[in-house]
């Protein structure tokens, strides 16, 4: 009886009058429709046959859905599109795993060890967060060109495996772990790498997940940097592939939407599966960008 009352109090709209509830729902639903509409429009257009694209009045849903056929036409128009998706996946996984290694090592070093210049080095790393990428786009390109890395996965992955943001985020997480737990392992004779691997990392799973989803999302959606360092199909990522389709003025919108759909869906699934960590990552390091 009491439990039920408590539960109702918690989950139900407690002190909201009916007009306020109605107003809130009306505003929020209208907004939500605008937020979701582009996704629906994308999906429905991706399945429209060409004749239905330029119909007036505009048809929201396709009369004859031809999803499969449009998919095939997309691959005819852009034969390497699957390759682009694969490349995006390779770059995303490469960068995320790379950051996971370099940044968790560094974060552990900064969080748990004393050495001369520690604060200065850390401050310099953080200062890099203030530099917008566009400001160093040109020297970055010249550096990659000098290394002979243009049009290679090295260019797309290696610089992306270092991150001041992830360093900051993971260091914060490691500092939350009570020292005593790690000390127990140290007394048992474990070296720092073993402590990191067997104690610190397992205790930081939520932070690692938050960092990973944000890194994956940023890498998958990256556009300007790949635009500059890669120009051949074998290293082209999917965002560039879509932009190329868009640049081809003949490309009909159904194919463009099919391409966008294929590039968007993986991130939507990732988000829906790991929503909690996305939100935590943003709240934690909302300072990024």
């Amino acid at each position: 009886m009491i439990a039920r009352r408590v539960r109702r109090r918690r989950s139900g709209p407690r002190d909201l009058t009916v007009p306020i509830q109605l107003f809130s729902y009306a505003v929020l639903l209208a907004g939500a429709v605008i937020m979701i509409l582009p996704f629906l429009w994308m999906t429905s257009t991706a399945c429209k046959p060409p004749v239905e694209l330029n119909k007036i009045p505009v048809r929201f849903l396709p009369q004859n859905a031809v999803c499969r056929q449009n998919l095939d036409t997309l691959y005819d128009t852009s034969p390497h599109f699957n390759r682009y998706l694969l490349n995006s996946a390779i770059v995303t996984i490469g960068r995320t795993l790379g950051q996971l290694v370099t940044c968790s090592l560094a974060a552990y070093g900064f969080a748990r060890f004393r050495f001369p210049g520690r604060n200065l080095i850390f401050a310099l790393c953080l200062a890099l967060l203030m530099v917008p990428f566009q400001a160093i786009l040109i020297p970055e390109y010249m550096l990659i060109r000098k290394l002979g890395w243009l049009n290679s996965f090295k260019a797309l992955i290696v610089p992306g495996t270092f991150s001041a943001f992830a360093l900051f985020l993971l260091r914060q997480a490691f500092l939350q772990i009570p020292l005593e737990i790690e000390e127990a392992a140290i007394i048992d004779g474990a070296n720092p790498l073993r402590v990191l691997w067997h104690v610190t990392l397992p205790l930081s799973v939520p932070a690692l997940a938050a960092f990973a989803v944000i890194t994956v999302q940023a890498a998958w959606n990256d556009f300007l940097y790949p635009l500059v360092v890669s120009s051949t199909p074998d290293t082209r990522v999917v965002t560039i592939g879509i932009a190329l389709l868009q640049g081809e003025r003949r490309t009909p919108y159904n194919l463009l939407m099919m391409g966008s759909f294929l590039a968007t869906v993986p991130m939507l699934f990732l988000f829906l599966a790991m929503q909690r960590y996305f939100i935590a990552g943003i709240a934690l390091g909302g300072v990024k960008r």
Binding site: S11, G12, P13, L16, I20, S24, V27, L28, G31, A32, M35, I36, P38, K55, I56, V58, F60, A106, Y108, G109, F113, R114, F115, P116, R118, C125, L128, M130, P132, Q134, A135, I136, L137, I138, P139, M142, L143, V158, P159, T161, F162, S163, L167, N221, F223, L227, T239, I242, A243, R249, M257, G259, A263, T264, L272, Q275, F278, I282, A283, V287
Partner: protein
């Protein structure tokens, strides 16, 4: 029998005791070595791939650097050229216009949505998800979809605006309008991000303050006006600053949305600073001049960041004072 000591242990020089600077005791030295080894990969990588480019950005901006001739030092000529370059002035103006359009709307809408979604409504988690979805999509794909929504005649928007006689509006071609679709995509994609930060800020407001205001006879609006808004002001400030910084970097939307018509907008009407520097560098191969533009962009963003850090310090102080 005497042993010859190559490195006498009583020496004080760093040569004879190469690791002394690391710490006073052998244990502390060993720990320091571990620390340095752990931070080395990321720190060296950051230095090489981001630190060096930062330094290079300054030197490149003082050079004439194009595809034809070898680089040569020309002092501040690139910056002098900036002052006289109408296209640069236009890009600067467009960037500020865009920020003026995006930031107030983005922050205002996000605040409104966050406040409503902080109410104990049924299904609010689902609604939050809806508002956050655009954040995780790629700006390129989003811009493509919105290009189609904004296309004249056959887009949904034209359909909606047809009764108003705006059905044939060519949003992406009209120089007076082209910044609007660009802004819409930017707002659409950032709203959820700001909302999350606002929600975190709202949830951090102590409940007692609302109770106290209620006892003082404050109504719903009064509580919002005199408790929520003031308590949320540090969050709002942070969100505004982040939105401005983000606004300065708008590139993908302009690149993608004007690609089908005139890249950069008809007579440069959609060209932002970031887009202009990209075009200067990678279409015209003027790396030196483009670096000067990049430095201006950097300086503007740095100005906002420094302002934020200065004001934030004041805020922390203010909170500590009021707790006494």
């Amino acid at each position: 029998m005497s042993t010859i000591r190559l490195f006498p242990t009583h020496g004080r020089s760093w040569l004879t005791r190469p690791l002394n600077w690391l710490g006073p005791t052998p244990l502390s030295r060993r720990k320091a070595l571990w620390g340095l080894a752990l931070i080395a990969p990321n720190t060296l990588g950051l230095f090489f791939f981001f630190g060096i480019p930062v330094l290079m950005a300054f030197s490149t901006s003082l050079q004439e650097w194009n595809a034809i001739r070898p680089a040569r030092f020309i002092g501040l000529d690139n910056f002098e050229r900036l002052i006289q370059d109408d296209k640069f002035a236009q890009a600067l103006t467009n960037t500020f216009k865009l920020i003026g359009l995006v930031v107030p709307l983005e922050v205002g809408l996000a605040l409104g949505v966050a406040v409503l979604l902080n109410l104990p409504l049924r299904g609010r988690n689902l609604l939050r998800t809806a508002y956050f979805l655009p954040v995780v999509t790629s700006t390129v794909a989003a811009s493509v979809v919105w290009t189609s929504i904004f296309q004249p005649r056959y887009g949904i928007l034209s359909q909606v605006l047809k009764p108003l006689g705006l059905g044939d509006t060519n949003w992406l071609v009209d120089p007076g309008l082209v910044l609007i679709p660009v802004a819409v995509v930017a707002i659409w994609q950032r709203l959820g991000f700001d909302m999350v930060i606002f929600l975190a800020g709202l949830q951090a407001i102590p409940h007692e303050l609302y109770e106290a205001a209620r006892i003082d006879g404050a109504g719903r609006w009064g509580r919002f006006r005199h408790v929520t808004l003031p308590m949320l002001s540090p969050t709002t400030f942070l969100v505004v600053v982040l939105a401005i910084i983000n606004g300065f970097q708008i590139f993908d939307q302009v690149y993608v949305m004007t690609l089908r018509t005139v890249p950069g907008g008809v007579s440069g009407s959609a060209t932002t600073l970031a887009y202009y520097l990209y075009r200067r560098a990678f279409t015209h191969s003027e790396f030196g001049y483009a670096s000067a533009i990049a430095l201006v962009l950097f300086a503007l963003i740095l100005l906002v960041t420094v302002f934020q850090l200065a004001v934030q310090r004041y805020w922390v102080y203010y909170e500590a004072e009021s707790e006494k």
